[in-house]
Symmetry: D2
Subunit: 348 residues, 4 copies
Amino acid sequence: MIIVVSPEATPDDIDVIVARIEETGRQAHLSVGTERSIIGVIGPDDPSLQDIFESLPHVESVHRVTKPYKLVSREFHPGASVIDVGHGVSIGGPELAVMAGPCSIENEKHMVETAIAVKAAGANILRGGAFKPRSSPYAFRGLGNDGLRHLATASRETGMPVVTELMSVRDIDAVCEHSDIIQIGARNMQNFILLDEVGMAKKPVLLKRALSGQIEEWLLAAEYIMAQGNPHVILCERGIRTFETAYRNTFDVNAIPLVKELSHLPVIADPSHGTGKLSLVTPVAMAGIAAGADGLMIEVHNNPEHALSDGPQSLTYERFASMMRSVAGIASAVERTLPGVWAPAAAR
Amino acid sequence: MIIVVSPEATPDDIDVIVARIEETGRQAHLSVGTERSIIGVIGPDDPSLQDIFESLPHVESVHRVTKPYKLVSREFHPGASVIDVGHGVSIGGPELAVMAGPCSIENEKHMVETAIAVKAAGANILRGGAFKPRSSPYAFRGLGNDGLRHLATASRETGMPVVTELMSVRDIDAVCEHSDIIQIGARNMQNFILLDEVGMAKKPVLLKRALSGQIEEWLLAAEYIMAQGNPHVILCERGIRTFETAYRNTFDVNAIPLVKELSHLPVIADPSHGTGKLSLVTPVAMAGIAAGADGLMIEVHNNPEHALSDGPQSLTYERFASMMRSVAGIASAVERTLPGVWAPAAAR
Amino acid sequence: MIIVVSPEATPDDIDVIVARIEETGRQAHLSVGTERSIIGVIGPDDPSLQDIFESLPHVESVHRVTKPYKLVSREFHPGASVIDVGHGVSIGGPELAVMAGPCSIENEKHMVETAIAVKAAGANILRGGAFKPRSSPYAFRGLGNDGLRHLATASRETGMPVVTELMSVRDIDAVCEHSDIIQIGARNMQNFILLDEVGMAKKPVLLKRALSGQIEEWLLAAEYIMAQGNPHVILCERGIRTFETAYRNTFDVNAIPLVKELSHLPVIADPSHGTGKLSLVTPVAMAGIAAGADGLMIEVHNNPEHALSDGPQSLTYERFASMMRSVAGIASAVERTLPGVWAPAAAR
Amino acid sequence: MIIVVSPEATPDDIDVIVARIEETGRQAHLSVGTERSIIGVIGPDDPSLQDIFESLPHVESVHRVTKPYKLVSREFHPGASVIDVGHGVSIGGPELAVMAGPCSIENEKHMVETAIAVKAAGANILRGGAFKPRSSPYAFRGLGNDGLRHLATASRETGMPVVTELMSVRDIDAVCEHSDIIQIGARNMQNFILLDEVGMAKKPVLLKRALSGQIEEWLLAAEYIMAQGNPHVILCERGIRTFETAYRNTFDVNAIPLVKELSHLPVIADPSHGTGKLSLVTPVAMAGIAAGADGLMIEVHNNPEHALSDGPQSLTYERFASMMRSVAGIASAVERTLPGVWAPAAAR
């Protein structure tokens, strides 16, 4: 940590600052400049120190020189993490993960049918929401445990691992029982209690970036999970909130390579939420893979105008299959593979 | 709801849209324009309909014409709500609420001493955090239940109602037992499970605006609480996240009069978080009251450079007292009163 | 400037960095830490150096410790600047400046009538746009030189100094001839050529903050003007662009006290553009003055639904007079005065 | 245009609104709903009408149903525009445009050497700044006309068309004489005077998106140029300003496919400014092409730590060549070609 001292500070003022540094068990290294003096704080970092030093009189600014996270960082774990999510699927290796399915689970028949359709088009992980975060208390909030059971049925029928959102600690056992990956949604990225709890679970966790989550906060949220002993964290960029109103969110493609540089964790691109606009899903999916994402998360619905949520950004089965063909070329250009095409028993 | 039809739509395409509207039990009112046709949807509003209509082919855009919230709106409840928070204090009436105290509760002695000091300077509600949301898992996260007890002690000693943050459903009984107002922090504004739970409690709730929470989302979060039967909701503007890096947050003063116009709920200004910068707290507190806020929430610490959190934005007792004198003139200009000055027994 | 060296850097790598520092004529002060080394750069600051040092191998980050502006800073000029704008009016002293008038100048009669009305309600500076920046090339772009003449007529009739926007270097002579304060609009805050030119003029300049202008960039834009020899710069906060769509812009009230702290220049609040919404103009005007602004800029139109631009945020004469009464109480609370009330000859 | 009437409006109030609509020469089509009435405005669109109708009493909101731009829209010109920029290079066709070169022109020798190097690596357009917009008045502001001459020399030596920024109307003749494409920088996107002037020139114009420019404003800026008779407009996405501080700007990849959908104009991706960070330039360049961009704009400098500006985001010759190899695979996946590799005479 570096402390910049205000120009008007006297040597006595500086002594007060140095004394407070030493009180924390660190050493102070003073460097007297022509206009301002600078004090280097030498010793173990602690995020609370910044606030403490900024509160001292005659301190102009405090600059951190080390990253506030450790377990998620590349420095700590130089190789890329590959996370086994069950049913023979891994995330972070050469094969891309393709998570697809409806925003909300609607019924068993629809879930199974969708699972078969997305697998046939090349998805290898099934998504579906049983617990839905909705801005309005009057909107449909998901089928809950019934939805989890439909998801599990679809998983058994197709052999695909499944991912579903967990909104509350009280549902953690049910979600763990019926799914393979626990999703933490954007609105819960800094629900620290929930992060602690999924950190104590053994399941892989898909951690979505908050609407206004800075990269550092997102990685610290992942650190929460890892600090509780769960190393199986997958990050998901799903668009941020900006001044632009032409789309629901702005997919932050810069985040993909930066997070891969700062962290060893895999990163998934979600162009469905990242754009909120049907016609942009395919090109932004392609962009995400080109930028280095380890996979995609895509909302698919056979009949978007009857979907219980997120219809406007859901691809039909045909458009999803077409998207997969477009992504295939990009995947090959970046030396990644897509899951093999699969045909359900009925079609074989 | 108004549906704008794409220019290329044929009469048959429009029939499909009309049929889907009628399927939802609403009537369609078609208006054929020179360039585009417009369809008015007549019947009860439902937030899910927008997604459904936007998913239809040949729909260019869908415009909502009614507000998505009801219980929190001025149309539903034209008079301003005044919320009794106990110990003879109300929020939303002519007397301003002044919530003051440390960011984190540190120990009983410090809490009681601070309570006496802030009351002496004119505060009428005591704040203090027992459960602290922290970006880093390695930062101090609060004293938990011990903190709640210290807060209750300070409340008894000074006769002030207290407000403290609830982060998890599991702590709701303890927080209700020891405090008078439950705070929902900015990061939990859309933790819908927590909103439901405090909606079922009988306590007043202080609902902070999220870092990137739009006014409509904030009011819908309040609607969650009211929809569960708890009408005692107090809103708190605490700054939003913007591109500006000269302060931690940007206090959104526009929000104060707009929320007072759209809703009957009282609104508190939090210039400590709204600026994150000591020298800005007093002028922004004055601005908040001038704009119509029903009170203030201020971080106070006798020794900011030893505070366990948020030192850089905490006022000392002296600065807090000075701020209160500055606010007094503004309060009087907007025909509001400040709580009367109080002297502890020892000083009488 | 402080350079943080990457952890993997060898002593030889550090030597390369030190050599590049010395090549610029500065001294390098090395401080070896447990995890990273830090190099203080000692000598005169130059904004280009940051880019140069950030481009060096093994440099992790570069932190500036001095402000990049000088002439506009409080360190350079500790007292507040008071700017004489003619006709006996000054900005930055105890009397607040109140600039009022229509968004666009419409005709001579309307301009004179408006001038009389706003002066009667307490304005002391007349505003009116002859050259209008419009997002669309098909919108009304102002009366140009004719507008300037109408403004000058209204100034003569009422004895008020006038402020009007300059959009192009080619109109600088006409604008200087007919007005007392040259306004640089938000979209031209970083039109550096225009800044240079008004820097060479002798007139006071009202410099609006850009929609996404950071405080530092805004002060550097003022520095451009002062660096050319024109010290008469008045800043104007007019709202920034954020994610919030409930208002056209978000008035950044934090900016008012921060700019007063960093700079000696006066600051005007523009709640008309800062909100874009009629019902918010008065409370935000009050907030701006409470936060320390040196005056207001308000759009006034007797018949907003016939205004050639910005009708929705324009106050009628009555609402403007009412706003002035509300502001008067706040002004008095912060020990500022409003211009005296004035009656036109006809009414005396 | 659709006008939503407030619930409290009486039939007489509605008559007033209808009368004002008819006064503008449009027809009003009233649709009485259960909660609110809606009025469709039928007749030619005019951007000023929105303000007028919003200013009327009892108008709750006004919704535009047509786009405010015409010449730039796909509806007006369904096929993609291909723009001939001279020297046998076109932008918008199957071959991608690759604009490369230094941020600032430094001297003739360096410019020619860089031109040869970037052409050898596959660039087909040379970039270089003679007039530099700089936040600080004390930073290097470019070589001016000398720089233009060096650029022209490098163009002659390599046969490449050149692009350079125009900041002021006074330099338009010099810039037109020495360059093939006039660049309008992000800070001048809404410098409407400059847009008018380049609209009257015959040269192709590269129009960068403003830091907080909404898609609609960007297209309207292009409309300014086209409305003056110059159809040769090329758009350039260069990153927007958001809350994220981990990079200088956030490259908005959503904008690429959306602008291609709304407009027939070609779009260039600038990952150098879009990230401001060396390690992100290549992956974001790949993402831009994958999303459908018609080309790239890349800052290249053989010795970034001696560059006069933008060193931290400049690629060396080697990194640029390596980027081109990475982009080649993506280009091929989206059925675009890169300019052929070229060897200077000396190397042949």
